[in-house]
């Protein structure tokens, strides 16, 4: 019989261990802990009390019976004075005894008072034995650690949430700053208002269509916003000049991508090569661009995306020296400059995403809201379909 009892106790401890390590919701776990204890010690009633959050007052986390017992009315001093995790029988005059508690175990982890376990009379009406109390110590230690771990987990979760909110706030401030910066750049030239913002949005749309990660998409978004930051050092008169530039003026205007690079290189961005994307956004695949006359194989996909987004917006925007193009004409121009200036995969992605936006397949369009409201979308859509077919065939061939 002793052996059978020992085996039963071991099995019960294993039941408790199984519940502690289960993936259940913690409240369900607590209920299971209580039933393991009730079943092991044949108690008709019982409760597990622990500290509530965030004020730390003692509450019943789970109970069977003891409904009339209010946790805040329990005198904790005997519990706190008792040996840690050691069960005892409450004094005859105490409220716990009056409510039927036959055993109380204060739960501690090191110097932290975690809560307590209450047990009512046994179903069999037999008293709790010293062996029961010895066994109860083992249960109490495990339950105390489980409660403590859960409290630590909740602390960490709260801190994580605080950090997440802080990060989101910083990110919002960061993006607001970026937008303010972009507005300052674009304000230099009355014809390029919101240009940086549009280039950023177009670049994001293309990058997403090409399957970029959200992290890298944010990088190209920032590059789009800041690609013309070097224009801040070019005089307003030159930027807004209505007559054709002289060769010297062209050189001056072209300096902006190098100046942008120098400015951006001073900032430690969490995105790789953002300064290079900005430096090379006026390069061409055939090597006739500036500032380094690099060819396609030396240009990253980010450069190719930004170059196309920048050109498309420049084409479809009014300039001091020319009228804006309609979207159809701009698409023709992009196609005509394929391989010389623009990458076919990037143009294909641009066409696909714009087509999806026109067909209403994307909940938050990035390109469509910025296009000329006079545009005939059905004509653009059919033009895009043709381009997509053509570029897809090239893609399959190549």
């Amino acid at each position: 019989m002793e052996l059978r009892k020992a085996l039963f106790n071991i099995a019960s401890l294993s039941d408790l261990g199984g519940e502690i390590t289960s993936e259940k919701d913690f409240q369900e776990k607590l209920k299971s802990f209580l039933h393991v204890v009730l079943g092991t010690f044949l108690a008709s009633s019982g409760a597990i009390a622990c500290r509530d959050r965030p004020d730390g007052r003692i509450v019943f986390a789970e109970r069977k019976g003891f409904e009339k017992l209010a946790p805040q009315e329990i005198d904790l001093s005997p519990l706190l004075a008792a040996a840690k995790n050691e069960p005892y029988r409450p004094d005859g005059g105490s409220s716990l005894r009056a409510e039927g508690a036959e055993a109380v175990v204060p739960l501690w982890v090191k110097d932290d008072f975690i809560g307590f376990i209450l047990l009512g009379a046994k179903f069999t009406a037999e008293p709790y034995t010293p062996e029961d109390f010895e066994m109860l110590v083992v249960f109490a230690r495990q339950i105390a650690i489980a409660l403590k771990n859960h409290a630590l987990f909740l602390d960490l979760t709260e801190k994580l949430e605080e950090n997440r909110k802080l990060y989101e706030e910083m990110r919002r401030i960061y993006h607001d700053t970026l937008q303010a910066f972009a507005a300052a750049i674009d304000a230099k030239d009355v014809y390029t208002r919101h240009h940086s913002q549009r280039v950023a949005r177009y670049s994001v749309a293309i990058a997403r269509e090409l399957g970029w990660s959200e992290h890298d998409i944010e990088g190209i978004y920032v590059a789009g916003f800041l690609h013309d930051v070097g224009k801040l050092v070019i005089s307003n008169e030159l930027l807004n000049k209505r007559t054709p530039f002289t060769p010297e003026e062209i050189e001056e205007v072209r300096r902006h991508s190098l100046v942008s690079y120098k400015i951006i290189s001073q900032i430690r961005f969490p995105w790789k090569d953002i300064e290079k994307i900005i430096r090379h956004h006026h390069e061409r695949l055939d090597g006739t661009g500036y500032p380094d006359a690099l060819k396609s194989e030396d240009l990253s996909e980010g450069v190719k995306i930004l170059a196309l987004a920048d050109s498309f917006d420049a084409m479809t925007s009014q300039r001091a020296y020319r009228e804006k193009m309609d979207v159809q004409k701009a698409l023709d121009e992009l196609k005509n400059c394929l391989h010389r200036q623009f990458d076919d995969r990037v143009l294909l992605a641009f066409c696909r995403v714009l087509d999806k936006e026109i067909r209403g397949e994307l909940p938050e369009p990035d390109i469509l809201p910025h296009l000329d409201r006079e545009s005939d979308l059905s004509v653009i859509s059919s033009l895009l379909q043709g381009l997509i077919r053509e570029l897809s065939d090239n893609d399959a061939d190549g």
């Binding site: 039941d15 039933h35 393991v36 079943g39 092991t40 069977k64 179903f123």
Partner: protein, 120 residues
């Protein structure tokens, strides 16, 4: 059957409710056995047979729920019979001193005959 799989069904023969716990009586779904017995007790049934023929496991959580069943029926002045218990479960109940709180039968028919209920 998965360790968390536990179902309770029941039927009424005359004034006797027969409860069929199936699977593993080792988790909180075991509470269903308490509610099923309570449902019959509330309808006035005072004779309950729990047929453990298809109960594969009873652990400490299961014992806790069975204690509630025993207690509820004892308080209501009813009669509780267990039938079809596996030897290992019966040995545990004996060791815990619980066998005096229910009548034990090898099978459901024997329990029904003892309670004077209808034939199966």
């Amino acid at each position: 059957m998965s360790p968390s799989s536990f179902q309770v069904t029941s039927r009424l023969i005359d004034d006797v409710a027969i409860i069929y716990p199936r699977g593993y009586l080792n988790n909180l779904s075991g509470e269903n056995i308490v509610s099923e017995c309570a449902r019959h007790a509330q309808a006035g049934v005072r004779k309950i047979i729990v047929n453990f023929r298809d109960t594969d496991l009873i652990n400490s959580i299961g014992i806790s729920f069975l204690l509630t069943v025993m207690e509820d029926l004892r308080d209501a002045g009813g009669t509780l019979c267990f039938s079809g218990m596996k030897k290992a479960h019966l040995d545990t109940f004996e060791m815990l001193g619980l066998t005096k709180y229910f009548l034990l039968f090898t099978d459901e028919d024997a329990a029904l005959r003892a309670l004077g209920g209808g034939q199966v």
